[in-house]
Amino acid sequence: MILALALTAAFLFGSGAYLLLKRDLIRVVAGVMLISQSALVTIIGSSLSRGDAPIAVQPGETVSDPLPQALALTALVIGLATVALLLALVHRVIVVLHTAERDELAAGEAAHDAALESQRQADLDEAR
């Protein structure tokens, strides 16, 4: 069971990392989502235990460890919030820049570099 969960987590992380390297921003978001799920599967696989609900425990009774469940729930909520934030950010980028491709974002960066280069050239001319 643990092996299956570990393989699932590895597969999710791998697919997420692959998507994260894509040019399309929506795929990048999907990659982050998969990696967040991989972290959850890791929590569950590494520490979830079987047993009764840990409410009003009698001595000698086997109960499941409540902590991993609390961790998984907290991580789930945090993951949801961060992915929502990332989606909002991507939406904003698409609205402002009219593109969802990372290449075209990089083009903006290149334009900034070119502007700096011309400024440096102006400084050199001034020095001569």
Binding site: V32, I35, A39, T42, S46, L67, L71, L89, V93, E117
Partner: protein, 459 residues
Amino acid sequence: MLLSIAVLLPWVAGVLLVGLDGRRRVVGMLAVAAVGATVAVLGVLLAQVLASGTQTVVTGNWPAGVGIVLRADPLAVTFGLLSVVVVLAATVHELIIGISERTFPGLVVLLAGALTGLFLTGDVFNFYVFFELAMTASYALTTYGGQRRQLQAALLFTAVNLLGSFIFLISVAGVYRVTGSLAMDAVRTHMAGVDPNAAILIATGFFVAFSVKLGLFPFHFWLPTAYAGARPAVAAILSGAVANIGTYGLLRFGVGIFPDQLRLAAVALIVLGAVSVIYGGVLAVARGDTAEMLAYSAIGQAGYVLVAIGVGGPVGLTAAVLYSIVNALNKALLFLGGALRGTFVAGAFAIGAFSVAGVPPMAGFVGKLEMFRASIVAGSVALVVLLIVGSALSLIYMFQVYQHQFWRGDQLATWASPLPLRLLVGILGLLVLAAGLWPEPLLAISSRAADTLLLGRIG
């Protein structure tokens, strides 16, 4: 009591302020008041902790082992105070030039709260929660301004750092698996008996997560775009306050929880740190843009901290703590001052520039001096040479920018920024100068913080 107030005050104030329209001046003032009050509380707490030792609170009066532990020791409170001071300076800066987005004041106060909680918590998972809270606030803050460059910066920053956060979460799961506990002191005691293979894997996970935050050499690629694209105030917050998470994490987790693994990897850490120093320095020299130069400089300065942690021992750790304090102040001063013009500003910027290069009597000199002492204790000629080369590089790039910014003969040179802004930068400059002229308090605090780690008084 103060400990709980330090965490709760910015938290409650932030939640309230997020709902208000931050463009109104009074809301910005409330935010400055809230962050200022947090600074005051942390200052008193630091004095108490230095005078009478570590304080702990178990939340909700649960029995120990069930409730979450909040712990104020010299290391935690020092980093908390430092980060919140930087946040305060950046908030005042924005308030003076006029806040242009409604969420900004709420977000900075929440960030201050998250940072305080993160430094003061004694629980690994609680650390993750505060860590995500601080990062989420900084993702949103990076978009401040809303122009093309800010959005690009925010997108890259968010995507890369989310990956770092999830690697951290996976490592937390690993810690719970092998030790069965999440309280830092319990984890520390159990970790000694753990299978070394598992322990080194988990330690590597934490190292990667914190290196991404700090922007160390192989994990630095997001940093220049993010720092150069963000507004100056936000860049000051990112490099002066949020990056402290990385340093604190490396110290608290590396030295505090994984001392054996740290010793094992000491050479690797020193080599990585050295590469960071040289790489950051060389690329900073090659950059024309002030913010970009400062971003590469941040990579180099993070390298020094890693070298000091690699050297370890009381001297190395004192150097690491002291260097992070000085570096955070320098970066706040330079990022805020880099975009201004007029009397005081050039002087304050020069103080910051000399401080980065380690020229006396600036604070950076004390930091560099401790670094030299650490490398002599390590008995390594190569490290001493590295420090000298690194300092020479920083002198070159800082004064390239100084010349570019303040000695230009065009209209920019005659234009002056508003007086309050110049005063703010002047005060930061005086702080850096004062810390260099009278370094004993800083040295004492840093060595107390290093002792906390070495004696293992966690929890």
